[in-house]
């Protein structure tokens, strides 16, 4: 292995990328507009949720309940008749339908514990879960304050002071901005190294390198350090100017430590890019492979839904993916302000996975060089 060759081959990649405006535009897009839209376009858990109310009571209390639903969590409630509930829900018009029964207020004041019915379209999972909790607490709150006006009402003696740490208002955009950065690091590093290798193969330049005193290891290492550097630089700028600056996401921990983690992660993903490029025979196959690899990586690493809710088998399998550890590392450092003494196991895990991927990619690359030349 010759360090100067790795340096020169890497510089060559950087020069080549600098002359590819399309790729550069893609990188800039991925680390600016894409992150901005992904974190702002996603509505907060509940946003303008359609709700319908059947008011069979028509009392001051039921009017109060109707008025308690307003934007941005809910759309202004549609007042409907009982027979319409099923039809509207079938058509997907409402996610919630609240049915206030006749004589509700009278029964309540009489202490008869009347019951309100809440219909939820459970095919809309996200809203069904979170929203029904909201609807219940809004209704309960209205009933409670209504009762206070009429008689001495004693609140519950045990209160629960529930606070969220690291993101007190549970602002989703903070989370999705960081996850989008993480996803784009993975996506771009795989695409850049993989496409760089396939392009060299399609243009025949790889042969040229191989008749020179250059080893496959040096060729691979040259691509890895240069492409990783590009993605790392883009990610640093994006974190500082888009995430911290434009989106004003408070970052608790050390950005430098996170970038160190990103560098280790890039070692693993760029190796993966090389590996995929040696498996694919052409650009279209690389494209299909890319989708098949990227979607599981993004969906099952704990960035889209919590790892805890996945089947155990998947949880264990995904421990073999560098993204799983990188997302844990990113959350710990950026949101929880964890230091190296806390996150070092993730560093080790990613480095080990990276070394394995690198070895695998190198073996395949050496073999494919013999076949395709």
């Amino acid at each position: 292995m010759h360090a100067a060759n790795i340096l020169n081959l890497g510089l060559k990649e950087l020069r080549g990328l600098a002359r590819d405006p399309g790729m550069l535009a893609l990188i800039v897009f991925a680390f600016t507009i894409s992150i901005y839209t992904a974190s702002t376009a996603m509505p907060e858990q509940l946003n303008k949720t359609p709700i319908a109310i059947v008011d069979e009571d028509r009392s001051p209390l039921s009017t109060r309940i109707v008025d308690a639903f307003f934007p941005p969590f809910f759309l202004p409630p549609t007042l409907i008749e009982q027979p319409d509930v099923d039809r509207r829900m079938d058509a997907g018009l409402d996610i919630f339908a609240l049915d206030v029964p006749p004589d509700f207020q009278r029964d309540l004041l009489a202490g008869r514990r009347p019951t309100i019915q809440l219909n939820v379209d459970a095919t809309r999972m996200n809203q069904a879960f979170v929203g029904s909790g909201y609807v219940q607490s809004i209704v309960a709150g209205e009933i409670e304050s209504f009762l206070r006006h009429y008689r001495a009402y004693t609140p519950a003696p045990v209160e629960l002071a529930l606070r969220s740490r690291f993101n007190p208002t549970l602002t989703i955009s903070w989370f999705s901005a960081v996850i989008e950065v993480v996803n784009n690091i993975t996506m771009l590093s795989i695409i850049l190294t993989g496409a760089a290798l396939i392009r060299e193969r399609e243009h025949g330049t790889i042969e040229h390198l191989l008749v020179m005193p250059v080893t496959p290891l040096e060729i691979m290492a040259g691509k890895i350090w240069s492409m990783a550097l590009v993605v790392l630089a883009a990610c640093t700028l994006s974190l500082l100017f888009v995430v911290k600056g434009l989106l004003a996401v408070p970052i608790e921990g050390s950005v430098a430590l996170f970038l160190a983690g990103a560098a280790v992660h890039l070692f693993a993903t760029t190796s993966m890019g090389i590996f995929l490029a040696t498996v694919a025979r052409s650009m279209p196959q690389f494209g299909l492979l890319l989708i098949l690899v990227l979607i599981p990586l993004e969906m099952l690493s704990g960035g889209t839904t919590p790892r805890e809710s996945m089947p155990l088998v998947i949880q264990y399998l995904m421990l073999a993916a560098p993204t799983t550890h990188f997302i844990m590392l990113a959350q710990a450092i950026l949101f929880r302000g964890a230091g190296f003494e806390t996150v070092w196991p993730h560093f080790v895990a990613i480095a080990v996975i990276g070394a394995l991927l690198f070895g695998l990619a190198l073996a395949r690359f050496r073999k494919s060089v013999g076949e395709t030349a």
Partner: protein, 909 residues
Amino acid sequence: MMEAPQQAGFVARLHGVGLRYGPVTALDSIDLDLPAGGIVGLIGPDGVGKSSLLSLVAGARRLQTGRVEVLGGDMARGRHRRRVCTRIAYMPQGLGRNLYATLTVAENIDFFARLFGHARAERERRIAELTEATGLAPFVDRPAGKLSGGMKQKLGLCCALVHDPDLLILDEPTTGIDPLSRRQFWDLIGRIRAARPGMSVVVATSYMEEAAAFDWLVAMDAGHVLATGSPSELLTQTGTHSLEAAFIALLPSQRGHGYRPVEIPPRDPERDGEVAIEAQGLTMRFGDFVAVDHVDLRIDRGEIFGFLGSNGCGKTTTMKMLTGLLPPSDGQARLFDQPLDAQDFETRRRVGYMSQSFSLYGELTVRQNLELHARLFRLPEASIAGRVEEVARSFELTDVLDSLPPTLPLGRRQRLSLAVAMIHKPSLLILDEPTSGVDPIARDEFWRIMIDLARREQVTIFISTHLMNEAERCDRISLMHAGRILVTDTPAALVARRSAGTLEEAFVAWLQEASGAGTDPGREAAAAPAVRNAAPPRRRGLFDVRRMLAYSLRETIELARDPIRATLALLGSVLLMFVIGYGINMDVEDLTFAILDRDETTTSRDYALNLAGSRYFVERPPILSHAELDRRMRTGELSLAIEIPANFARDIARGRTVEIGAWLDGAMPMRAETARGYVLGMHAAWLAATAVAPAPAGIEVRFRYNPDVKSLVAMVPAVIPMLLLLIPSMLTTLSIVREKELGSLVNLYVTPVSRLEFLIGKQLPYVALGMVNFLLLTLLAVTVFGVPLKGSFAALAAGAFIYVVAATSIGLVFSSFMRSQSAAIFGTTIGTLLPAMEFSGMIDPVSSLQGIGAAIGQAYPMTHFLTISRGAFSKALGFADLQASFAPLLIAVPVLIGLSALLLRKQET
């Protein structure tokens, strides 16, 4: 042949025709009348505008300025092009560029015959006739991609002649073909013309020997016409004896000036006889195919050794083995008396290699390319600048050191390749067709440099070529055929051994002998295709189902021959369904929590048990201090921490208000939000159970359609629409962009197929694939995932069909913007993934979106099929209930297809 073509009038007339590619002028105000009825040749080096001119005449390229009249009409007018395209046949440059590599010979011809509307019996008759005439009959079932170069060109000719054209346009039909195949090709053209005397042929060529046999010539250079006339007229005009010399004489003075023939000084008889290359029994097998079969070679130091043979005969493979790029399957090679070892960098440093196509970095400047290679060959850093200057001077590249190679003319680029191969002063140069496509002047300069290296610096040169005049300059040559070396000797000795007049004749004689008795495409049928104008194809309207189906059939065959693509598409969606079905899971379970219990009473433990007993929470060892709480939350070990204050039980008993502290890990807000709901609910339940505070009113929650609120039941009907969008649209986009990149889109330009026939024809197989996918995913949903299909399957399937048509149409629209396959991959992913995941109501209902996202969501087909899918799966709905969602899909299909037809060009721009 000289039958006064002028009398037959003109087949094409060009007036003031100009063409620019960006800043580059390809044709500069050309005025030209091409006589009908004979063979018209366009001669000139590479890149002077011959191809551009031919594509304008064929109607394949859009006219920019001037006027082109072909067969008596204006080619700028679409109606005239449609009318005459059935009378024109166009064979573009590049071996088999408009053919389909995975289709067999018969299927290729059949496809073209269908495009021109021939009925089955007629097609079969023509395939039999054409393959018989061209000698392809024994190979009708061989895929076009596996034919040799000469056979590919014959197949191209079959496809071109399938509709009895009056004008045959051939763009460099014999470039890169061995002399025997070349000769057979022209014999064939001659016989076809004899059978169809009225047919005009227009040919571009860079072989002057061929051009000498044409009726009328157009000499071109740098987008201008230098001269026109019959070959003898051109010779008379310039006072020369060969067309090559005549062409050089016609060139503007600054280019032709100072030209002198290449002189080859004899080799030094006192040479030491050191052997540079020695190979014995060198063999390369790819599977069953023997590419190189026991080749023996012995090349002396300082020798110029030529390597001749047809395409695919094993020349390149042999050269690659000698550079160490390919480890031989058998046999051995020695370079400079050392066994060839690919790992031996010392040997590599003594060898310079130049591959067949230009393979330097187009994105690096000339200087950067030279410097990079100098560094990789580990020249001392201090000497690099000097060495770069030196080679730049000797290869006349000094003035372009800071240019990018793609902007240089081909001849210059080839010199750069040679300079790079020479940068480390190798003692052996292996050059694979270094002068292919280079004009005669540049070629001679190239040779002067090589001769100089060989004679003065004792550099051994191993060069392959198709050109006989280059072969004649070599010290010795080898003829290769089908992986074997036929003969090796000096050019003069070879001519003498066959008692032939020229080296070419000698070569042809050897090849004919080698190809032997009737197993080769060289076997010529005696008869020319008996072209009977039987049953001229019926004129057809603007939309012809048969032409459309021709494209569908072809696409289906291609798909069937690339099983990896279809398998990836089907298996891929199954895999992704599992991933997303399990991955997007809203019910959060097994959240970790721990308690900091400062009370340690039965009541406080009861509170903890209440949480630990649910399926949502898993208890971890208790927390002992605030510092520990902080640390364990930071590592992410705990999602929830509960602090129960001291005197908790006592205060409750005394009726004092107490406060339990609870901290959620907010690093993942969705999870925290759900966890919060659980904690609040369980807190209330605990209060009610311990009868501390019963609620004044009850709220009864009914989860409709999915009473257990299972994520799978909710997600699976949403995943199917997403997968039916992503993969079919990607495949459709790629299928069209691929034709753009590989060049077969030209068949759309020059055949009667209309844009709609082309688009829908290509789309249909992917609609079928999408429907297979739909059935597979639905079956999987019902069986493996256990999601019941409560509503109408007919409604779901009908919706899926319209939706898949819409999804593939989205692919058609994308394809009109993309030029390269990699751009198509990125573009289609971005254009489908984001709307599918975020704007179509998969997770958040469209009504809750804002701004552009909401607008896209309302119009996007997936939104509506999602409603149909959820309705049919979970809500037990049928056609009547889902009408409102069918309407937008039915509107989307014609709009999308119409849009892509508008965006697709029927001519190259």
